[in-house]
């Protein structure tokens, strides 16, 4: 499929990604500004004001008081995203998150032959790595939070965070040149993995989302729970499948199993499989909905 077809097929998702960028990334950060206006906070909002990982760090590090502190809206946002994934799938990841959007866009825009792009066909292996990294992230949060290790993670946490890289890149682009000071090697390695290795050289361009995003990993688990409870999900109909494997090629999250069923923990609700093949149907509740 060529770039024009991809653009037309995903037009609503791409428009949504642009909206997501303006909602969360400073100097715009319209969502954060709206929240600040309501709660009377006069601080200058950034993407970090609604950090995607810190509330998870607080929970597993035993810092429960932070959830109810001055940054309560940050926790409310992160847990809201996870809880909404039960009912809507990981829609934030697939439709709004600016971090995943940028790497996916770069992957689509740069035509590199697929044989040079990494794609793990075994969803169990992908899932094992994703949740392995999540467990490691939680372990470090717990070690630091419960004072079993020195508290150095906090000072460097943002240096390997793709959201921070995006934030500083956007700030520098839109006028705040002091953001350039941020560019140390930690940020450069983040940039390399997020956009070059994870974006250009991983099929679908979502290497960062697959392996290093704790919010995405928890949203995936919530989606799996929601699908089991009968909420929003995409189902594969084997009777309509001709085994062409096109679904596996188009899925940016490598979520299609060998038997063409969907691994829910990886699915971000992008509906590429639904567009590519009639064997996939969107299901809300017990009804089969139009795609």
């Amino acid at each position: 499929m060529n770039a024009k077809e991809t653009l037309i097929r995903n037009r609503w998702r791409y428009i949504s990604f642009v909206v997501g960028f303006f909602l969360f990334v400073a100097p715009f950060a319209l969502f954060t500004r709206a929240v600040y206006l309501i709660v009377g906070n006069t601080a200058e909002p950034t993407l970090h004001s609604v950090c995607f990982r810190m509330p998870i760090d607080w929970i597993f590090g035993g810092r429960f008081y932070s959830i109810f502190g001055s940054s309560w809206f940050m926790a409310a946002f992160v847990f809201g995203v996870i809880i909404s994934s039960i009912f809507l799938g990981a829609a934030f990841c697939g439709w709004l998150c600016p971090v995943g959007a940028v790497s996916e866009a770069i992957s689509r825009a740069v035509p590199i032959p697929n044989k040079f792009r990494l794609r793990i066909r075994d969803t169990k292996l992908t899932m094992s790595m994703r949740y392995g990294f999540l467990v490691g992230f939680i372990a470090v949060a717990a070690l630091v939070g419960y004072k079993l290790a020195s508290d150095q993670l906090g000072s460097i946490c943002c240096r390997y965070c793709a959201s921070s890289v995006l934030q500083n890149f956007a700030s520098a682009l839109f006028g705040d040149l002091s953001a350039i000071e941020y560019w140390q090697s930690g940020a450069i390695i983040s940039l390399l993995f997020w956009l070059v290795i994870g974006g250009l050289f991983m099929s679908g361009g979502r290497g960062w989302c697959l392996f290093f995003c704790p919010l995405g990993a928890f949203s995936g688990l919530a989606h799996k729970l929601g699908a089991r409870l009968g909420f929003y999900r995409i189902e594969h109909k084997p009777e309509s499948c001709n085994g062409c494997n096109k679904c596996q090629d188009v899925c940016p999250m490598w979520a299609i199993k060998e038997d063409h069923n969907i691994e829910r923990t990886l699915c971000v609700n992008c509906k590429e499989c639904v567009h590519a093949c009639d064997a996939y149907k969107l299901i809300r509740g017990r009804k089969i909905a139009d795609s």
């Binding site: 990294f133 290790a149 392996f211």
Partner: protein, 71 residues
């Protein structure tokens, strides 16, 4: 076969789970000097990235070709 696949998945899980704590241990002697170091936390990410690439590369054709010993 299923046991082998399961073992592979568990091995990948264990390796990935150990990546962040291991890199934390590696970075530990530096203490709180991270912000002053020109590496700026790069050491912390480099190891998990290498683990991800090593596991991933072994499971794709192109990576297998690179890793295979050539005559």
């Amino acid at each position: 076969m299923r046991i082998a696949e399961r073992a592979k998945a568990w091995w990948a899980f264990a390796l990935a789970a150990s990546a962040a704590p291991t890199s934390y241990l590696i970075a530990m002697p530096c203490g709180g000097a991270c912000a002053g170091c020109p590496m700026g936390g790069g050491c912390f990410l480099a190891y998990p990235v290498l683990v991800a690439l090593a596991i991933g590369a072994k499971s794709v054709r192109f990576g297998k070709g690179l890793l295979r010993r050539r005559p």
